[in-house]
């Protein structure tokens, strides 16, 4: 039995096909989100990779920002629940998931079965999200994917104390004009994000068995900064970007089991 999960985000579209809810037979990630050809492309790619087609799918569940306008899905589930299931599938020991996306940050507490128990979200403020890093990368005139590795070479990380992105930007500029090493500034930026997110995570209680997902999880600087802030290791699965789609596919499988009963 094949089920399909689609995660239509604001800046990317992901799809995953599971066989019997246990094995990933197809997976795609496209850097275009809701309202673009991204979702369509993600579908085409995942069918191509798996050698399957839409008619082979027993059930399709859609999640993510663009889930409300997906006509061919059998149902939609929130990205928090899908993420919880997806990461649990990839890393069964994890109990706390930190998802830092482009526009928001979430912390999820999950059960042994991958059920979502509690969550915290920052969806209003740019600080502590990928947006903050984007803004600062521009100021430092480096590519966003260089920012993390850069921060790892810091000798004396500076403190960026302001939580307001606009003010923090001026702090970074001020550091640059004082000729502070760019690595040290980058480290300061990463620590600032980690601190902000850690505060949100701590509201769920002291975390254990932590994993990160979301676009920012690919930033090694952030992962290490989070480890320092939380005082515990942080795992990042190489498929973490697909967690939402995988979770949706699992929900799809559960739904199709129900249908059969």
């Amino acid at each position: 039995m094949y089920t399909l999960g689609i995660d239509i985000g604001s800046t990317s579209s992901k799809a995953a096909i599971l066989q019997d809810g246990k094995m990933i037979v197809g997976r795609s990630v496209v850097s275009l989100g809701t309202g673009t050809i991204g979702p369509e492309q993600a579908l085409r790619q995942v069918f191509f990779e798996s050698g399957l087609s839409q008619s082979d799918m027993d059930c399709i569940i859609v999640t993510g920002y663009g889930r409300m306008s997906c006509e061919y899905a059998d149902g939609q589930v929130s990205e928090l629940s899908c993420h919880a299931r997806g990461i649990h599938f990839l890393l069964p020991d994890v109990r706390t998931i930190i998802d830092i996306g482009g526009q928001d940050a979430k912390a999820l507490k999950i059960s042994e079965q991958g059920q979502l128990i509690a969550f915290q979200m920052n969806d209003k403020c740019a600080a502590g999200t990928g947006r903050f890093l984007d803004v600062m990368a521009k100021v430092l005139n480096v590519d966003i994917c260089e920012l993390g590795p850069l921060s790892e070479h810091a000798q004396n990380p500076v403190t960026i104390s302001n939580t307001c992105t606009v003010f923090a930007e001026s702090e970074v500029i001020s550091q640059l004009s004082s000729k502070t090493a760019i690595e040290d500034i980058a480290a300061g930026i990463h620590n600032s994000v980690a601190k902000r997110v850690a505060g949100m995570v701590m509201r769920l209680g002291r975390p254990s068995a932590v994993a990160m997902s979301g676009g920012v999880a690919l930033n090694i600087g952030i992962v290490h900064a989070m480890e320092r802030e939380l005082g515990c290791p942080v795992q990042v699965h190489r498929f973490c970007q697909s967690a939402g789609a995988i979770g949706a596919a699992i929900f799809a499988w559960e739904k199709s089991l129900e249908k059969k009963v």
Partner: protein, 435 residues
């Protein structure tokens, strides 16, 4: 040690100047403040060891009451200011907004103190930068004349530590005066509170002692106001920011003889400067300004460095006089505390007080600290600014800061805004000179 690690006038930046100046010895009054603060905390600690009940109090609670009863009282707001000024606030803020689950929006004194209390209470594990000298209270003394957040903050402390709150509701005054009905209500609460506090602590009320404390408090208020008023000389005898250092005497020790000694010393020092034509303000006084709002404790040195650059001395502040509380008897005390601080800050009163200060101290500008922690001030500040600058013809600027949360400040913004104010003040000065 005073709650200021260093005298605000000389910062590390000053000491790195090309021609090194010898470090000016700390004024005797400041040393006395340091001693007094140490004594306050030490006495509280010892009292706890003896099994006596120790309290925490709001900053403008009628201290005459616990002072008369001989109780040891500590002040969370003042303590939090000290932690913030010494840059030790971060772990408490993180703890408060993290595991304790509080919103970032709240007053930073409260955030700091609630986290500190959580450590005292065994709920949190943040290391005390001060060894836990702010000992765990057995009761709370609360008034809301400074703001309403205090009421909620203390509700939480009471439940957290399972201790009673002795509360005097000092109703806000939308009029320019305190109504008799308020005086009666506050007086009635004061009478009841004295009875209840005696019952709780086992202390007894001594009328003679109360009269003595009232006298000392009145004298201290007089001396404090006198010292503030000496700033009307030109040049002002001290750098105005230094007056913030003495607040602990007026907040935490207002009814004590040690404060009388400090205030007398301070007055003497200031008068000496006036006699000599000197000042502790490190450069020539180019501009005289008033500062509206509490100090931006985490960034005092940056504030000072910036102001010093332009020779700006703060000669008047809205905070200095807030603790000069005058009365003759218990009814008068009820009235005075009901009108104290922001309780007496309906727009007309706020304006007349500030106008008076601008004129008296001959201020050329006003700097408004938009203190993120303080909605009770910030939410009517804009209207006050407009009206005041029109009435007084004095330019103003404002900057975003915080009394204790170091994350709400931008050095670049402060510098730009002050520079802007200087440009206007300079223009005005030149225009005046040219007739």
């Amino acid at each position: 040690m005073s709650e200021m690690e260093k005298t605000p006038v000389l910062s590390a930046a000053d000491q790195a100047a090309p021609a090194p100046k010898p470090k000016r010895p700390k004024a005797k009054s400041l040393l006395m403040i340091g001693e007094q603060t140490n004594t306050l905390f030490e006495n509280a600690r010892l009292a706890k060891e003896r099994g006596e009940k120790v309290g925490w109090s709001a900053s403008i609670f009628p201290q005459e009451i616990p002072e008369t009863l001989g109780l040891n009282i500590l002040y969370p707001e003042n303590h939090a200011a000290g932690i913030a000024a010494r840059h030790q606030a971060d772990p408490f803020l993180q703890e408060c907004e993290g595991p304790l689950g509080y919103s970032n929006d709240l007053c930073a004194y409260a955030k700091l103190n609630l986290a500190y209390a959580a450590v005292l209470n065994g709920e949190s594990a943040v290391e005390f930068p001060d060894g836990g000298k702010m000992v765990k209270p057995d009761f709370l003394l609360l008034t809301n004349n400074i703001c309403n957040q205090l009421t909620k903050w203390y509700e939480n402390l009471a439940r957290q530590m399972n201790i009673p709150v002795f509360f005097i509701d000092t109703c806000y005054n939308p009029c320019d005066y305190v109504t008799e009905t308020r005086v009666r209500y506050v007086r009635s609460q004061i009478d009841q509170l004295i009875t209840d506090l005696c019952a709780f602590t086992g202390k007894t009320w001594d009328e003679a002692r109360f009269r003595e404390v009232m006298e000392i408090s009145q004298r201290n208020s007089y001396l404090w106001e006198r010292a503030n008023n000496l700033m009307d000389h030109k040049p002002a005898p001290i750098g105005g920011f230094e007056l913030f250092n003495y607040m602990s005497a007026m907040v935490c020790n207002r009814g004590k003889k040690s404060t009388t000694a400090i205030m007398e010393q301070l007055n003497a020092e200031m008068e000496e400067h006036i006699r000599q034509g000197t000042s502790t303000f490190p450069v020539e006084e180019e501009y005289r300004v008033s500062w509206d709002g509490i100090a931006c404790w985490p960034y005092l040195s940056h504030n000072l460095r910036t102001l010093k650059k332009y020779g700006i001395n703060m000669v008047a502040s809205s905070y200095g006089k807030a603790w000069a509380i005058e009365y003759d008897d218990l009814d008068g005390m009820a009235r005075a505390y009901c009108f104290a601080s922001t309780n007496g800050d309906n727009a007309t009163t706020m304006l007349s007080r500030r106008l008076e200060a601008l004129k008296k101290f001959d201020c050329e500008g006003t700097i408004y600290h938009v203190n993120r922690s303080c909605k009770v001030m910030d939410c009517q500040m804009m209207e006050i600014q407009r009206q005041l600058s029109e009435m007084a013809g004095v330019p103003f600027t404002s900057f975003d800061g915080d009394q204790a949360d170091y994350r709400n400040y931008s050095e670049a913004q402060f510098e730009t805004r002050i520079q802007g104010l200087v440009e206007v003040m300079k223009q005005n000065k030149e225009a005046k000179c040219n007739g």
